[in-house]
Structures are given as C-alpha cells and as structure tokens.
Symmetry: D2
Subunit: 127 residues, 4 copies
C-alpha cells in the first residue's frame, strides 16, 4: 500500500490509521499547496480525501479502485492548517462500495467527499 | 490568475488557453504523480480538471470559486501521458455556474468532471 | 409545508417526522411506482429522498430549496416494499446546506442520497 | 421497453425518440407534479431525466440499469410547462456508461443531470 500511495506521500499525505472499511489520512498545508490568496487548492483537499478512500476500500484484502467521487468545498483552508480526512464505508453491494470522507481542520469540517469504488480482483494487490 | 494558480503550477499544471466561460489546462504525468502500479493518482486528474474549472469560471472578470465537483475516473492513465483538460460552461444562473471538464489522453477520454461554481464579488480578483 | 409537498403526497410520500436539520418520509411501493420487472422506478426513490430533504432543510424557519443532489441506487426495490427515507444535516455554511438521506427497506439500505440546499429568505414560507 | 417504463408513463412521461446511446422524453407539468408554490417538484424533473437515461442506456440491445446520478436544479419550472429531456452518452468503458441529460423548458435549460449506468447482461431485456 505504501508504494501504491507513493504519489499521495510525495504530495504530503500521511496515513494515520486503517481498519476494515475505514482509514484516516493527514496533510499539513504547505506553500506548494496554496494559491495566490493563501488558500489551499481544492485539488489537494480532493487528493487527501481520495487517499483516505484508497486505503479504506483496499482494507478488505481485495484490490479496489475509485470509480468516481463528489466533493463539496465548505470552507477555505489557510496555509499551515493541519488537516485530517476520515473515510468510512457507507454501503457495499457486490464489488461496489460507497464511502464518505470528511475533511476536518481541527473540529471544523472543511470538505465532504463521497467516493464510489469498485473491487478489481485481477489487479495486483498494492504492497 | 497566475499567482492564484501557483499551487496548480507547482503540481505541473500548465494553462493552454482561456476564454469567456472556457479554459484548457495540461499536465504531463511524471514520477511524482503516479502510484506503485505506475498509474496516475486520481487526485492529480482532479487537480488538473479543477484548475481548468478555476480559469474558466474566473474568465468573466468576477471572482468565482468552486463549491464542489463530481469526477468519474474512466481509464487508468500511465506515466508519461500528456493530458489535456477542457472546461466548458454548461449553465449559469445568477451567481452559480456549472462547468463540464473533460480530461483526455490524446483522443481518449480518461475522466469526466462536473464542477459547481459560485461568484464571490467581494473576493479580490486573482492577478 | 403540507401544501408545499402536495406533489410528494400525491405520489404517495408520507411525512413521518421533522426536527431542526432532519426529517423522515415514507413510501409504500405500489403498482404505479414499478416498472415492467416489478422493480421500483429510481425516480420515485429520488422523489422520496428529495421530499425528506425538503422537510429537513426548511426546518429552521427560513425557506430553502434543493440546488442539486446525487443518488446512488444500491439494491432493487420490489413492489409492496415499505420504504423510509431519513434526512440528516451534514454541513451548513452561510445559506448553503448539505444533507445525507438514506433510504431503507426494513434494515437494508437501498439508496444513498446527498442533497445540496440553498436558503432563499425572499421565498414565501411553505404553509 | 414500454412495459419497462410503465412507472414513468403513469407519471406522465412520454418517449419522443430513442437511438443508440441517446433518447428524448417529455413531460407536461400538471397539478399533480407541482408543490404549493406552483413549482414542479424536483423529484419529477429527476424522474423525467432518469427515464431518458433508461431508454438511452438500454438502446444497445443489452440490459442496463442506472447505478446513480447527479442532478442540478437550475430554474423553477411552472405549472403547464412542456419539458423535454435529452440524454446523450458521454462515455462508455466496459459495462459502465456515463450519460448527460439536459432538461429544457422551451429553449431554457432547467436542470442538468449526469447518470451512471451499468450493463447487466443477465437481466431480461425489457419488452
């Protein structure tokens, strides 16, 4: 999994915890993540949530990928913020999964993400 | 706008074109964008599309921000791929906008993104 | 509110409960709701969830409308099923709200809906 | 197909046209479709769009179902309005499809819908 999330790690994402159907990731907003206004780029909020989703949907021992996701940006996130994304399985039917990922800055929710996943048993497990 | 998209630029996003209600951005998939399987992280596909959205929705001379977006990941994208994201306005009502962003690798569509925007006249224009 | 949800009521939707930020609606799947395969039309699952959303987002004494929603259809719903939709506020920022609506058949979740709302203070309150 | 869309027809939906990957449906907004404010219930706009989606995604001779959809409500629709929904295939990969459905009142777009479909070859073809 670590190699699998090499891109997330290079972007600054850290894995905090993973359990069957759930995961938590973290990101500290650095200069490279912010735009001219000193606000975190929405793309990195998505990337952080998507990383939590990837860990959560792969937590059952069968390879899975994100088929899509919706994100709602609720509040601007400043430089220096310590963000935590928490992914929780909402539903699972056959090979399809639905996960909610909440991104928080302290106690404040800054984004809500809902991801759609699909198990791909043929795909090599990330190691 | 350039300063505003500093984060996108640092992530490797280039602006190709912008016109009222539309924009095109590009990204070449590098080592830092891929996961263990050599596949581009979905977070960067989103970031590329989101950057095109930002340019397009700010093209009318009034500051606007993304309120949310949905992305469908259609095909895996390999290392080295030259991606182009094209944002087109789908609807505008009052301060709200709806934009479709198609991400292509050559002629092949690899992701479809639909972004929801909101004009924020009080916000300083990016320069 | 009852008059406001006249259309929902004519479609067979019943209001079970409403409280600040939440609401529950119910629908018994009848002949007029099913397709040739004896499966409830997705449009009525949406309508049921949307009605719960409308009650929940109007529960604060300020008129609000749905700006959009995403629904995931998880399992087919047979003729005769007693469905309950439960709307819960997920986030509120300024005039915007985000609500999750879960549609259940007994203990089984058959659809997950996420609605985006906007308060419109100028709009006459439904009575 | 007609039997399959019995529920849609009972709701007032008419099929205008169907071709491989596309379809058009229509609905005239009647008393039963409107709320207290004389505005068409969002659930029926969804149902109309969903019916167009169903015809379009079943147009290839293989049974398919909607896995989910997002709808953006852009403008209120008055009693008596003649609505047309036009579904167009946006992408197809393996058994998955993505369709855009635009709902118009005359020349004015009142809702934009994006549906996600899945072919289910085991399912009996609607007749």
């Amino acid at each position: 999994m670590t190699r699998a999330d090499e891109a997330g790690r290079q972007a600054g994402v850290r894995l905090l915890a993973v359990a069957p159907g759930s995961a938590q990731t973290a990101l500290t907003v650095q200069e490279r993540h912010v735009n001219g206004h000193g606000i975190c780029h929405g793309g990195y909020l998505f990337l952080l949530a998507d990383a939590a989703l990837a860990y959560a949907c792969n937590s059952y021992g069968v390879s899975a990928v994100a088929a899509g996701a919706d994100i709602a940006f609720l509040r601007p996130v400043p430089l220096g913020a310590d963000l935590v994304a928490e992914a929780v399985e909402r539903a699972r039917t056959g090979r399809s999964g639905l996960y909610d990922v909440t991104v928080r800055h302290g106690d404040v929710v800054v984004a809500e993400f809902r991801g759609r996943t699909r198990q791909v048993p043929g795909l090599a497990q990330p190691t």
